[in-house]
């Protein structure tokens, strides 16, 4: 079980250390704090929108989940949102890179 294989199943997960219980982001094989083994578990939602912009009519933004998990994805419905807006994951997948769509929570 890994970030990528879970994402292919539409599940957004993060590695949590079995030893020190810290989460490691970006995804990795071992804990970046103590090198302990990671167990992948669902990321807690909602997250918070930090910033957004658009290209050719597609709005995208950086969303922060929990304390440190930040990722860029598309904003659902192409409705511009203000930073500070709570967001959740509408869909996610992996095809060469992670693909996220966020929606207003």
């Amino acid at each position: 079980m890994s970030f990528e294989s879970e994402l292919r199943q539409g599940r957004f997960t993060v590695g949590e250390c079995e030893k020190c219980h810290k989460t490691s982001w970006p995804p990795s094989e071992f804990c970046s704090n103590c090198f302990g083994n990671l167990k992948y578990r669902p990321v807690k939602e909602p997250g918070i929108l930090l910033e957004c912009s658009s290209k050719d009519g597609t709005i995208f933004g950086i969303v922060k989940f929990e304390d440190s998990i930040k990722i860029i994805g598309t904003i659902n419905g192409n409705v511009e949102q203000k930073p500070g807006q709570m967001m959740r994951v509408a869909s996610c997948d992996f095809d060469k890179s992670p693909k996220f769509t966020f929606t207003k929570s």
Binding site: P26, S53, S54, K55, I72
Partner: protein
């Protein structure tokens, strides 16, 4: 042991596709032509700065130029490879493992090796324009930075590049040209962006006691700062370049200077917003006010910032950029920059960074 710059060269940047070996040899040949008394047998180390995927380029360059150095190796660190290589060369001399180090940077315009494909936190938005646009939007939101202020960054760099014979593009652009250039994202236009190109640049580092053999006016590296905060763009605060702030503080402290003593600087304007953030984070202007500073530099024809035209004006051959920045500041401190010359420049600064400023290098130089 103090470390001096005793020679340098920068080849003409182009959108052509010469071989990486040709680019490396051309800069080396020009450096030998520019530097008195330099012989191949003097060189203890050859360092190659590039993101090119070709292997073993430092020994290849050495062989093609008749050098048989003790140390020969490549250094790759994305856009910051150039300044990183200079710091490595400095360290060899400061530690007395070498007396004379040749550092050569080169990149080819069309080269898939320039792309950082590791950063999954960018999701499917992997191209640098996406971090450029996020930085721009956040700066506009927090400090009220306007599109016109950003356009002046591009105008200033393109104007300065007109007097730089190595620049890939010496065309004049008006504010209107820039404001009306193709919109790539909501917050970035084509002329807000630096362009990847082919080019090469070389610097000869020597120990202080040998400097006068090769040049009448050596330039010294008096301050060095480097910082890596992460490799993921999204770890950044969006309105501040933490790695640059840290590297600048280290460099100022080592050189025993304050930001306001800097006479001339080359900074890493990958996008127009980067130049504003860098000027603020180097402490050359207070936070949120770099737009006003750039406007004033433009209107008064002041070449203090990016006299060679920065990355936006000169072009951005990744592995060569940091070396070309250092070559420019060395030339400024020698009073050899012709139409680009900043009068009486005594203290110079170079800021080079990688991958959305997840790492930065700041050098202070003096004559």
């Amino acid at each position: 042991m103090n470390v001096a710059i005793a020679g340098y060269s920068t080849t003409k940047f182009t959108l052509g596709q010469p071989s990486i070996e040709n680019l490396l040899v051309s800069a080396t040949k020009e450096l030998f032509q520019n530097t008195k008394n330099l012989s191949q047998k003097d060189i203890d180390a050859v360092l190659v700065s590039t993101n090119n995927n070709k292997k073993y380029l430092a020994p290849i360059l050495s062989e093609l130029t008749g050098i048989t150095p003790k140390i020969a190796q490549s250094i790759e660190n994305m856009c910051n490879s150039g300044a990183n290589s200079i710091v490595s060369g400095y360290s060899y001399i400061a530690s007395e493992m070498a007396d004379i180090v040749l550092v050569v940077g080169a990149e080819q315009a069309e080269n898939s090796a320039q792309v950082l494909d590791w950063d999954v936190s960018r999701g499917e938005f992997t191209h640098p324009i996406f971090w450029g646009t996020m930085f721009t939007k956040a700066h506009k939101r927090k400090f009220g930075t306007t599109e016109e202020e950003l356009a002046y960054v591009s105008a200033l760099n393109h104007k300065n590049a007109q007097d730089n014979p190595a620049a890939y593009n010496t065309k004049a652009y008006t504010i209107e040209d820039i404001m009306n250039s193709k919109r790539l994202t909501e917050d970035l236009k084509l002329l807000d962006c630096s362009r990847s190109c082919s080019g090469s640049s070389a610097v000869l580092l020597v120990s202080e006691n040998l400097a006068k053999k090769y040049t009448d006016s050596p330039v010294f590296i008096s301050g060095i700062g480097q910082k890596t905060t992460s490799a993921s763009f999204t770890k950044n605060d969006l309105t501040r370049l933490d790695s640059t702030i840290d590297a600048a503080n280290q460099a100022y402290s080592m050189a025993r200077i304050k930001a306001d003593q800097v006479d001339v600087a080359e900074v890493h304007d990958a996008f127009s917003i980067c130049e504003l953030m860098i000027l603020e984070d180097l402490g050359l202007v207070s936070k949120g006010n770099a737009g006003k500073l750039v406007l004033e530099l433009y209107k008064t024809n002041d070449k203090k910032i990016n006299p060679r035209g920065g990355l936006i004006g000169s072009g951005h051959p990744l592995g060569a950029t940091g070396i070309a920045q250092i070559a420019e500041i060395a030339s400024q401190l020698q009073g050899m920059s012709a139409k680009r010359q900043v009068k009486n420049a005594k203290i110079g600064l170079v800021q080079n960074m990688s991958a959305a400023a997840t790492s930065s290098t700041v050098l202070v130089m003096r004559n």
